[in-house]
């Protein structure tokens, strides 16, 4: 909106985030268990080139995209549910995706379809089915946010039960692969995953940005938003649909990576204010910077071993919640 938003500095923050994004994009592919010199890459040194172009760059690109998608969908869930603790996995999307992946792993499906591993496609299908089920259940009750949340919890619990059941029926190798998948990570990545993720994340972000007035109006309450001409049921379906497709596509390639959608929008709001015109792009940049930095840490702190990035974000998420509780109090 015009001039300076109340509590934030949207222009400055966006500028700083853009610089950070560029820095991560340039530096992260050079750092890791083996350092790579940019000069070697540019000179065409074979080892350096393979590490830079084939191993590190696609991984950094995917981290930038996945972090962006997680943060933007977290933001839209928080605005939609008017609750800053809502996150992209609130409606059982992650458990639905995990169920899909677990079933595929149990069946030992290792094929590739449309350039994507079947496990990924199965988890994408699981995510979308879970969301469709939740929205369908809530729709019968005219789609209020409370019913959506309850339906999400119910579907999530059912999926968890089915996952446990499937794990019980599996042998230890399969179970290990299932548990590893659920930790979330960016380790085996090529350009196929990047090409798969980019349209979902960028397209979804564009749609959410187009809905920025509606999302801003939701901050004034649903009654007022409806009286200004917002069709609440349609808005909920649009936002949920877009965010779920985005998350489903991300979970399919990277597994469930928690807390990014919670932490990033929260920090960004403090710096940018609450206008979604600035919030959405800032979350895109900030989420990418955050996840790419976490991934950089995940593959260097225990080098040559590698920590799944989902474990690292979860380790950061717990203290973040505590910090919110203790220090964030004056805010509410």
């Amino acid at each position: 909106m015009r001039g300076k938003a109340r509590s934030g500095h949207p222009g400055t923050t966006l500028f700083i985030l853009l610089i950070l994004w560029g820095a991560v994009f340039l530096i992260a592919p050079l750092v890791g268990s083996q350092r790579v010199d940019l000069a070697d890459v540019l000179r065409g040194d074979p080892t350096a080139s393979v590490i830079f172009w084939q191993l590190r760059l696609p991984r950094v690109l995917l981290a930038l995209l996945a972090g962006a998608g997680l943060a933007v969908s977290g933001l839209s869930f928080q605005t939609l549910f008017r609750n800053e603790l809502a996150e992209p996995y609130t409606l059982g999307i992650a458990t639905g995706a995990a169920l899909g992946a677990v079933l595929a792993l149990r069946l030992e499906e290792s094929g590739v379809l449309w350039g994507m591993p079947l496990v990924s496609l199965a988890s994408f299908a699981g995510a979308i089915s879970a969301t469709a089920l939740v929205v369908g259940l809530a729709w019968k009750r005219r789609g209020s946010t409370a019913t959506l949340l309850l339906a999400g919890i119910a579907v999530s619990l059912s999926c968890s039960a089915l996952i446990l059941f499937t794990q019980y029926l599996s042998d230890s190798t399969q179970t290990f692969r299932m548990v590893r998948w659920m930790m979330g990570g960016l380790s085996v990545v090529g350009y196929g995953e990047v090409m798969w993720t980019a349209p979902w994340v960028l397209g979804g972000a564009a749609i959410l940005l187009a809905l920025r007035w509606d999302l801003n109006l939701l901050l004034l309450g649903e009654e007022l938003a409806a009286s200004r001409g917002v069709d609440l049921v349609r808005l909920r379906i649009k936002v949920l649909g877009v965010a779920s497709l985005m998350i489903g596509a991300l979970v399919a390639v990277a597994g469930p990576i928690g807390f990014v959608g919670l932490m990033v929008p929260h920090m960004i709001r403090r710096w940018v204010g609450h206008d979604h015109l600035f919030l959405a792009p800032a979350c895109l940049l900030g989420g990418g910077v955050f996840l790419a930095s976490c991934d950089l840490a995940a593959r260097t702190v225990m080098a040559p071993a590698e920590l799944p990035v989902g474990v690292l974000t979860a380790l950061l998420g717990g203290p973040f919640f505590l910090w919110l509780l203790v220090l964030g109090k004056k805010d509410r």
């Binding site: 909106m1 809905l211 004034l220 309450g221 007022l224 001409g229």
Partner: protein, 265 residues
Amino acid sequence: MTRTGEPILSAHGLAWNPDGRQILGPLDLDVVRGECLAVVGPNGAGKTTLLRCLTGLLRPTAGEMRFEGRPFATLTRRALARRIAYVPQIRPARVPLSVEEVVLLGRYPHLSAFQIAPRQEDFAAVDAALARVGIEALRRRPVDELSGGERQAAFIAAALAQESELLVLDEPTIHLDARHQRDLADLLLRLASESGRTVLLATHDLNLASLLGDRLLALSAGRVLACDTPARILEPGLLEDLFQARFEIVRGGERPVTLLQLGGG
């Protein structure tokens, strides 16, 4: 001074009785262009339900509503919002925006998703609304830091920026102290006289209704008990039927004043 001008908003056979429960109506109602119609009645009489139906937020179970002769069914939500601005009673406890941002959101029905920024005319409407309500000085202030009266003024300014012909307010003075009630009443009187806006408001404050209303509509258990000038509605027998409480009526000024009597009942 019962008005006989053309109705801007009219309802015929309006009823909202979900699952066979008697909540509202059936009732007929006309809001005349340029008037201030105050709906009065006890808690639970159906005032808010009536306003939600008349603003298109609630689809009635029976009856038809028209705005300037056009059935609601032929108007989109946005088209309706360009004609009717609503200031609901219930709002979120926290509104993390500045006064200017809140008022600018009143322009929503005039904005398109593909607009990068609001247009000049949107900002002009915001400036005009802030000036009319007299809160230009609060423009940059966070809504969360305002007093109850200032907050109410900000939301009324947002409704004015909507540039609709009909302004609908639900219990606008609830939670306001005497001075802010007076300021708000002054503001609404000015709005009616200066901008010729049609105002529909619901309140259980009889003196506010008497001060502002050209006509009062007494709503009791979802039915229209009477609809007439304040002088005719504010009458002990009718008020006792309406509120199950006794009132003394003080006449002599321009508008009657009601005093609640203790005891009895």
